[in-house]
């Protein structure tokens, strides 16, 4: 592109054109008209050339920084993959499908991922069962029922909820909600999947609330007005018109909340009890993929099969959240492009 632009600088006949080009950049190549070259301005042209070079250097610098996000994302994937590959080489693939994860067994280590994956999915689903109705309810209340003053107050409060560090939530899960859950369900200490689901629901709520509310607000008022004019009540309008119209945004918000729940580490590590067995119900103690990495990576010797296997778990985790986020992204993009 550079030689092309240089040619344009030379061809441009007046300062005005140069300015227009400076503003529009290279996308409007057809702006430059062939004209006589101003011979008296060679000094100025030299200066322009120099500053043109400087400008493109600056632009490249910012471009490199802009690319950083792509590089980091690919870097994370690449490093996880490179470190996990020995695990896939040393452990037969069929073994990953087993239920038992016992890498420190003195006789024969077993690297079954099934219990972990099932635990992660179970805790996540439990969280969504709580967070979807409540989050959607709050979003609908804020967008449709609440006075705007209430909305102005509640929105920052929901942001506070999002700002609480996960380790604090986990701590409260142990000291506050654990005993309550133990009492309700008559279990030992309340450190189980229910507790994890409950706390993850709290953590997923801000995402679901704010994004769902945005998409409910984005529904054109003509939709609601038409429904009301036909004699529908506000509730009917909300449930049968506005929510269906905002559904893509709502689903995207749920996917993002789900991604957050799958990847959350400290909270589940602290409150789910971390038993390695396959979960059979929500009152069982479970150990999710994230918790398993957090527990074992600190103790494992470097560059052993176990170490590589933990990175394989990390890789699977990364791919799971990547797919969930990608789906949310695709839905949101479609929704934004839709004509309203």
């Amino acid at each position: 592109m550079r030689w092309f632009r240089k040619g344009r600088w030379r061809r441009s006949s007046s300062i005005a054109f140069e300015l227009i080009q400076a503003f529009w950049g290279d996308e409007n190549g057809d702006l430059s008209v062939p004209g006589e070259r101003p011979s008296s301005q060679s000094a100025l042209r030299k200066k322009k050339k120099l500053s043109g070079w400087k400008e493109s250097a600056i632009k490249s610098f910012f471009f490199a920084n802009g690319m950083l996000a792509v590089i980091v994302l690919i870097g994370i994937f690449g490093i996880l993959l490179a470190t996990a590959i020995p695990a896939f080489r040393e452990i037969p693939l069929a073994e990953f499908a087993k239920k038992t994860w016992d890498p420190t067994s003195p006789e024969k280590p077993v690297y079954g991922l099934l219990s972990m994956i099932a635990s992660t999915l179970m805790v996540t689903m439990g969280a969504l069962v709580i967070a979807i109705p409540v989050g959607l309810g709050v979003a609908a209340y804020l967008s449709d029922v609440a006075h705007w003053r209430i909305r102005e107050v509640v929105k920052p409060i929901v942001e506070i909820l999002a700002g609480i560090p996960s380790v604090v939530t986990g701590f409260l899960g142990i000291v506050l909600f654990g005993p309550i859950i133990a009492q309700i369900f008559h279990t030992g200490n309340g450190l189980n999947a229910v507790n994890g689901s409950f706390l993850l629901a709290i953590m997923a709520l801000p995402t679901i609330i704010s994004l769902s509310e945005d998409s409910l607000n984005a529904v054109p008022s003509a939709y609601a007005e038409a429904s009301l004019a036909l004699g529908g009540s506000r509730w009917q309008t909300l449930v049968r018109v506005k929510i269906p119209a905002a559904l893509s945004g709502i689903i995207a918000s749920i996917m993002l909340g789900m991604g957050r729940a799958i990847g959350e580490t400290m909270t589940v590590l602290m409150v789910t009890g971390n038993a390695r067995s396959f979960p059979h119900g929500f009152l069982d103690s479970v150990r999710t993929m994230t918790a398993n990495i957090a527990i074992e990576l600190g103790e494992v010797p470097y560059y052993t099969t176990h170490y590589y296997a933990l990175f394989a778990v990390g890789l699977i985790l990364f791919i799971m959240t990547f797919i969930v986020n990608l789906i949310a992204d695709v839905i949101l993009n479609k929704y934004q492009q839709r004509e309203l």
């Binding site: 400076a22 980091v72 409540v134 380790v167 604090v168 409260l172 990576l297 992204d329």
Partner: protein, 284 residues
């Protein structure tokens, strides 16, 4: 007709109930921490290192550790986030590449924090040989906050009206001159406040520093960037689950939680208040 009204009444009642539930949960959370943590807070707790196997004393090294590591995070994340935002808002055109960059940023913000930890272990601790240190942990957290700093810096740049850029360009400034003199001076306060929000999140993170530098217990403050450090969130995790006398140290854990939450929410609110002020003050 009547039935419709009743259904609507019940429906709205349910929505209101959802809101009150969420508010109640938040209140309970904050109240419990405030009540139980308030009792543990004293000057000694803030200014002294832990003593007697962490059953007594304070959390001073943890506060300092979190403070220092957050500065390292800021040093990495603020400039990189700003530069990337400048590219995206000022230079980038609607192209496939730009879409790819934006997609990456959105996806990075969804990558689990423990995965950043794994990445940090390999890249900073092993490949670059920084060891488990403040530097490794700070850089890992810096990458973690990058999507936030980019997004919020771009938000700040977007608020600068186009006429500012056009004015400079019309007077003969080059693109970079226009950005430097007419965009950045007005955008930087907003960019910084947005970045503080990302830093607050980093300060509260535990999973990424578990294996990149946080230490169980250190009686001294770190002396260089290649030392390990104590951090508030990790300290709370230890006090809540790993300590040998968990019931005995509960008050200390509550105190740590309170300090952490005050720190993080304090940073959050400062940023939000400043941003609000900035918005109100400026009429374009």
């Amino acid at each position: 007709m009547k039935r419709k009204k009743i259904i609507q009444f019940i429906g709205f009642l349910f929505l209101r109930g959802c809101l009150y539930t969420v508010l109640a949960i938040l209140l309970i959370l904050l109240y419990d921490i405030g009540k139980n943590g308030g009792g543990a807070i004293s000057w000694e707790f803030i200014s002294q290192p832990p003593r007697r196997g962490m059953t007594e004393g304070g959390i001073f090294p943890a506060i300092m550790g979190t403070f220092i590591v957050t500065i390292v995070t800021a040093v990495l994340a603020i400039p990189l986030g700003m530069f990337a935002a400048i590219y995206l808002n000022e230079y980038a055109k609607q192209s496939r590449l730009t879409r790819l960059i934006r997609l990456s940023i959105r996806n990075l913000s969804g990558v689990p924090s423990i995965v950043y930890g794994l990445f940090g272990v390999i890249l900073f601790v092993n490949i670059l040989k920084f060891g488990t240190s403040i530097l490794s942990a700070g850089l890992t957290l810096g990458l973690l906050t990058l999507p936030w700093t980019i997004t919020s810096s771009e938000e700040a740049l977007k608020t600068i009206p186009n006429s500012y850029r056009e004015g400079a360009l019309a007077l003969g400034a080059t693109k970079w001159q226009a950005i430097r003199t007419n965009v950045l001076p007005y955008a930087i306060p907003g960019m910084l406040t947005g970045t503080v929000l990302g830093l607050a999140r980093a300060a509260g993170e535990t999973a990424p520093i578990l294996f990149t530098g946080a230490a169980f217990y250190l009686p001294f403050l770190p002396r260089s960037l290649s030392d390990q450090f104590m951090a508030l969130p990790y300290h709370l995790y230890i006090m809540a689950t790993q300590h040998h006398a968990i019931q005995q140290v509960r008050p200390l854990a509550y105190g740590t939680a309170l300090v952490l939450i005050v720190l993080v929410l304090g940073m959050n609110m400062t940023a939000v208040v400043i941003r609000y002020r900035l918005r109100r003050k400026r009429r374009w």
